[in-house]
């Protein structure tokens, strides 16, 4: 039981901190605009050149083979520096863990380095109009074709798809409910992409219409018919350690404390201090989880506790910011963050479902 960073970890932190202090861009346009998307890709290419875009990946794919603890250190420094949100997030945090586990050597060699350099930006395509949190109700299908498959159907709430070049998702190759789903990668070139405007008027989401789009066999991830199992593993990493690093919440909380202290209302400062304490709790908790993962323990259903905690903390923090700023929040990152935080309890499995999971699988209450 200690909180002591090794000399190597400390020097890694120092390197990251000093590089970011010099190179972090200020105020990129939103990544859900065309300009912003391009600017974010350029920034991530710059990170990649420094081997800082995916520090925990093996060197052959563009990383540094860093430990989970070092990755957490990187994230703390990244967000503390005020660096921009990651346009490659869906690929790096949702798809890549699946590629590492279920991808062929060729798939890994093809896609991972390009992802690390932001050459490819990946959109997730989980939901369908009739299936939100209930993935087993998916109806989009893949039909066998010569040397590959043809995709049919409609996906929605595909984040980043308005500007991304590739996507990943499940299509039904046979069977019902959880059975007969297959995990596909696909280029978006032949897919009809219909952007959906969000509350802030920007296009973070899109509908994807598939009308017989051909994908070769090399774009099937894992075995045919195993998509459900593979996606569950992905969903679990989506919910787990990698989706929301503590550094981000800590940076938000820390700025919130300053904002509240300047406002001079002790009640608001109390709420801010509490948020900061909770962000700290999430950071410390994550150190424990990281150690367990490094020791080979599975997190499993326990990751649902974290999902509920960070998503509701994020919402509390941004609600407080709105209380502090009122109208003045508009046009600042606080308002964008507020809109983003409102989605937190919804995506990656709604918090209603996460609480069911905690109750049933962690506590053992009846279904």
């Amino acid at each position: 039981m200690d909180l002591d960073f090794t000399p190597a970890e400390q020097s890694f932190r120092a390197e990251v901190r000093s590089w970011l202090a010099e190179h972090t861009p200020r105020h990129l346009p939103s990544l859900d605009t065309a300009d912003g998307f391009a600017a974010h890709r350029a920034w991530e290419a710059r990170l990649a050149a420094e081997r800082l875009s995916v520090v925990s990946w093996p060197e052959e794919y563009g990383g540094r083979g860093a430990s989970l603890i070092e990755w957490l250190i990187f994230e703390e420094e990244y967000w503390a520096a005020g660096a921009p949100a990651r346009v490659t997030q869906n690929g790096i945090f949702l798809l890549a863990p699946t590629l590492f586990t279920y991808g062929t050597p060729e798939q890994r060699a093809t896609w991972l380095p390009r992802m690390a350099r932001a050459d490819d930006v990946w959109a997730q395509a989980w939901s369908e109009p009739g299936a939100g949190s209930d993935l087993a109700a998916l109806t989009s299908r893949a039909v066998r074709a010569d040397g590959g498959w043809r995709l049919h159907g409609l996906k929605t709430w595909s984040s980043r798809a308005a500007y991304a070049g590739h996507g990943f998702g499940l299509f039904r190759t046979s069977g019902e409910r959880h059975h007969g789903l297959t995990y596909f990668l696909f280029p978006l070139d032949d897919v009809e992409v219909r952007p959906i405007a969000q509350l802030d008027g920007e296009y973070g989401f899109a509908e994807l219409a598939f009308d017989g789009v051909f994908v070769p066999d090399s774009m099937v991830l894992g075995d045919v018919g195993q998509g459900w199992r593979i996606a569950m593993a992905t969903t679990s990493s989506e919910r787990g350690l990698t989706l929301r690093s503590p550094g981000r919440f800590l940076a938000t909380a820390s700025r919130l404390v300053d904002l509240a202290a300047d406002a001079g209302d002790p009640v608001l400062l109390d709420r801010a201090a509490r948020c900061w304490t909770e962000a700290e709790a999430y950071r410390l908790h994550t150190f424990t989880t990281a150690r367990r993962l490094m020791d080979g323990t599975e997190i499993g259903a326990a990751s649902s506790l974290g999902k509920v905690f960070w998503s509701e903390l994020d919402l509390r923090m941004h609600t407080l910011a709105m209380d502090l700023l009122g109208d003045r929040a508009a046009g600042t990152p606080w308002y964008d963050g507020f809109l983003f935080s409102l989605a937190g309890p919804i995506y990656a499995g709604t918090n209603e479902i996460q609480r069911n999971i905690v109750a049933e699988r962690v506590l053992g209450l009846p279904r």
Binding site: S127, G132, S133, D134, T156, W157, I196, A197, Q198, L199, G201, F205, D265, V267, L268, L315, T319, M322, D323, L324, G326, D327, R328, A329, A330, G331, T332, Y335, L342, A343, P345, I346, Y347, T350, N351, E352, R355
Partner: protein
């Protein structure tokens, strides 16, 4: 002692509801015109001057309906603040629905100022006649500034040159407008609750209507409870805003209405899921309006600080 609305008061609200249900546009011009015909904008103006001669409390059901409809335009600034502050021919025009007022806050920000004929920035007021001239005698300047609700744009207001002083009581008008905004928030919250309940009855997930899940039920029950117990504070403030306890009562009302409406907005978003998060559904009008109105005439934080400061200063007991 009859702390319920009379049939007349309730009926006026229902008429406003019917009018607003029939028309929607981005900045509310059509609704404005039709409410003007009803006499809505002169409802607080003496009947001797062609108004309806209502007290603020009588007007609450109608104001709540403008919130239920998320009606655009400077409704409260005109029908409440303007009606209590202006005089002479301007007031006559206002009562006829032919004059719009925008009120700037202490940070010189006014919503919908581009639509206004008269701009109030305590303690001064100016008509907007000169704005378009771009001449050196320019009396009003509007700088657009970022806002939360695209249908309720914000402007930084500068009044120069020969403005005139306000005649009515600024404090009274400000309090009345705060209560009226709180009433709009109650209306918006009721709309959000109704539409979310309707959605939860129809949308199925895991093979059943999501409104059958106890978590969804209890979340919406909590919204219903919050709205049910915020409304009486708004009603009371409409009766007491000119009394010694008025400042405290008005702040208690606005804070409670803000919080109930924000709870309704959050529940609506969560229950609608990703669908609620986008522009596709009408829901967005109410969400951004709730956030915008809950900042207008004071955030919850501001009003709670005031209640805290005043709670022992004015008599707490009947």
């Amino acid at each position: 002692m009859n702390f319920t609305f009379t049939d007349d008061q309730a009926d006026f609200g229902l008429v406003v509801r019917d009018v607003l249900a029939g028309c929607r546009d981005d900045r509310g011009a059509a609704a404005w015109q039709r409410l003007g015909t009803l006499g809505f904008f002169g409802m607080l103006v003496d009947d001797s001057r062609g108004g309806l001669g209502l007290r603020l409390a009588d007007a609450l059901p109608a104001l709540e309906e403008t919130g239920r409809a998320a009606m655009p335009g400077p409704v409260v600034d005109t029908a409440v603040a303007g009606a209590l502050l202006l005089d002479g021919p301007e007031l006559d025009k206002l009562a006829a629905g032919a004059l719009r007022v925008a009120v700037a806050d202490s940070a010189s920000t006014a919503a919908d100022a581009d639509l206004a004929d008269v701009i109030v920035a305590w303690p001064r007021v100016a008509s907007r006649d000169a704005v378009s001239s771009q001449a050196p005698q320019l009396r009003v300047r509007l700088e657009p500034r970022p806002g939360i609700d695209p249908a309720r744009p914000l402007f930084t207001v500068t009044l120069d040159g020969d403005t005139r002083e306000l005649t009515g009581s600024a404090v009274t008008a400000w309090r009345a407008a705060t209560v009226a905004t709180a009433a709009q928030l109650i209306g918006a919250a009721r709309h959000l609750l109704d539409t979310t309940v309707a959605y939860a009855r129809e949308r199925t997930q895991f093979g059943r209507a999501i409104g059958g899940f106890q978590a969804v039920k209890h979340r919406l029950a909590d919204v219903a409870i919050a709205v049910e117990f915020a409304a009486p504070l708004v009603h009371r403030a409409a009766l007491s805003y000119e009394l010694p306890s008025g400042e405290r009562d008005v702040s208690a009302a606005k804070a409670a209405a803000n919080d109930a409406a924000r709870l309704a907005a959050e529940a609506a978003l969560q229950v609608h899921g990703a669908i609620g998060y986008t522009h596709e559904l009408e829901l967005r009008h109410w969400l951004t309006r709730v956030w915008s109105w809950s900042a207008a005439y004071g955030t919850s934080a501001t009003h709670r600080a005031r209640v805290r400061a005043l709670v022992r200063e004015v008599p707490r007991w009947p």
